[in-house]
Homo-oligomer: 364 residues x 2
């Protein structure tokens, strides 16, 4: 269906739902390609507003504002996977929305997402749906501890999660997440966290980056490096998984699949943790470390343009600047070989992603 | 004096005079660094307007608009060297203007510029001022033919120029340029055209890129490549010349010096052709071919931030897309290894710079 959408011409306008740093960097990539952007965000201090000529500040449920937005753009995409499904569906009746809003229906519900992945024959950690304290107790018994309970909806960066260290913690965890519909996942002692980042174009072609290795702190991405230190065959499997997921979703644009590398009986295998239906923090290195960034690839895909074949420019390390870490900006700017990206956010609140720094080390 | 200007903090606003592609790319670089931009341009369809949150569309002589602009920004810079001197001076009484407006007084007048260069002991082609038909005839006799007559003010991309093939052409050339105050320059058969691109920071430090080699067509830059194919010693001399000029102007920001390489009696030497007090078309390769772009260096300099030390990523070629050449955009986007930049200009008029394409070839 999406193949039928008209191919954009330079000068066309891309509507972006969400006003954070991902929307900002998408808009910057669109600008490089001669495309205009119109950012729609409910927050007045959205940092993406500062780099576009047109903006709408209105709630996601404001249908009059959405209709005006749709009339002003040629295609709609999003930087934020928690855009309400109704918002995306409303817009899709007026203009092409890419990736398709049905992707959101899958990825906004952790249970639907895990079921979708499992149905593709792709491994995940053991999981079970939880709708009540009793179900949680039963699931905890079945899956075992330690385990993590996560609300099915609206969780990111560790929010809406609680850990169950022993089966008896279940009741407290159920309260901690607000007794919302949830999913219980067995905690898997992983060797590494990795992410597979790929773009899928309108003709179904998929172009992946090399596998990325990630380190989280307090559930927030701290550091990424490329290439991941895993055997080539395992890295290849991760790319195959991302490609399979993108194809099964009829996905258009860039998506990231977060995976765990687990070592069991001396053998390594991959478990899918999460799908991010958007450009991804672990792909920010591509701005400096690859010949084409994830943001440009996403824009090319939603515009109906040819995807590029990214070449990596060296071994790459990317570190997030979280909260007050951004106050080191002057020191970082003076550091040889450091490429500093600041998102223009006014307040460095704890846990807030304020920028990132990339270093590329030429490989001999 | 400029060292006394306050150092900007992330989130500050840079005012950019001029709304073309150079302003657009400056704004994109500022965005990467968490800075806001406010573009001031008299033309409603300025392509830089599309990538900034704040814009003023008003004539350069509109003092009320200029005062509002000054009040809204923390520092002013320009992408356009023909900003009226009065505009820059007016703004400089309200906010820091970098580079200093007195630079414009030198570079907007070809005669003042050539005299300035000559006074530094730097070679140029033989030249003479022309204020009347009689002076032109005398200058043509003295300098010899072929020669080029150029209006002292407001010339770029070959406008306001006429060629004198033989001394008898002088009268026709004088009419062709509208009998405006002019400068006659001996036409020098050059081996190559090169440009030296350097940034000078507020503390006086200068960081140069490697020498760039340029090919013009119809007086418009067609193609640049780095490194220039000249002996290392000559390339070094060009960088020394640019550094000397930047220091003599107390320059803050990026400037380009266009030079001719001439071969005389088997020896090569450099003649300065022109100073561009701004980021320069021949430096667009730095967006893809260097670890820091000319646009980011300029923004760092005017913000009072540390300059970066650019590393070149390979042998680089940049080709401009002029006028209808931009209509090949889809083919170019599909070309392996081509980084396509489109400026978002609506009409591909003949001679108009619509975009550029860069290719980086890794060096072994």
């Amino acid at each position: 269906m999406s193949a039928k959408f008209p191919v954009l011409k330079p000068g066309a306008t891309i509507g972006i739902l969400g006003g954070g740093q991902l929307g900002r960097m998408l808009a910057q990539a669109a600008g490089k390609l001669g495309l205009r952007c119109h950012v729609y965000s409910p927050e007045a201090d959205s940092c993406a507003f500062d780099v576009v000529g047109e903006k709408t500040c209105a709630p996601y449920g404001d249908e009059a504002a959405l209709a005006r937005f749709a009339a002003a753009v040629d295609v709609v995409t999003y930087e934020f996977e928690n855009v309400p499904g109704e918002t995306a569906s409303f817009l899709a009746r007026l203009k092409p929305v890419l990736p398709d809003p049905k992707v959101l229906a899958t990825t906004q519900d952790r249970l639907a997402e895990k079921n979708f992945v499992a149905e593709l024959g792709i491994a995940t950690a053991p999981f079970a749906p939880v709708g009540s304290a009793a179900e949680l107790a039963a699931a905890a018994e079945k899956i075992g501890a330690p385990a993590v309970i996560k609300t099915r909806r609206l969780g990111y960066d560790g929010k809406g999660q609680a850990t169950i260290q022993k089966v008896g913690d279940a009741a407290a965890a159920w309260n901690a997440i607000g007794r919302a519909p949830a999913i219980l996942e067995r905690f898997v002692p992983f060797e590494r966290e990795v992410s597979a980042l790929a773009a899928r174009g309108r003709a179904g072609e998929v172009v992946a980056y090399e596998l990325i290795e990630n380190v989280h702190r307090d559930h927030i991405l701290h550091r990424s490096r490329v290439p991941a230190e895993v055997p080539a065959a395992l890295a290849g499997q991760a790319i195959v998984i991302a490609t399979k997921i993108a194809a099964a979703l009829s996905y258009i644009g860039v998506l990231a699949v977060e995976l765990f590398v687990v070592a069991e009986a001396g053998k390594r295998r991959l478990l899918v943790n999460e799908i991010a239906p958007r450009v991804h923090n672990s792909g920010h290195w591509t701005l400096d470390g690859a010949t084409v960034s994830q943001f440009e690839q996403h824009i090319r895909a939603v515009a109906g343009w040819a995807l590029a074949r990214p070449q990596r420019l060296g071994r790459v390390e990317m570190v997030n600047l979280i909260g007050h870490e951004v106050e080191d900006w002057a020191k970082l700017l003076a550091e040889p070989g450091a490429s500093v990206h600041l998102y223009g956010k006014r307040e460095p609140r704890p846990g807030r992603k304020m920028g990132h720094v990339t270093k590329v080390f030429p490989e001999s």
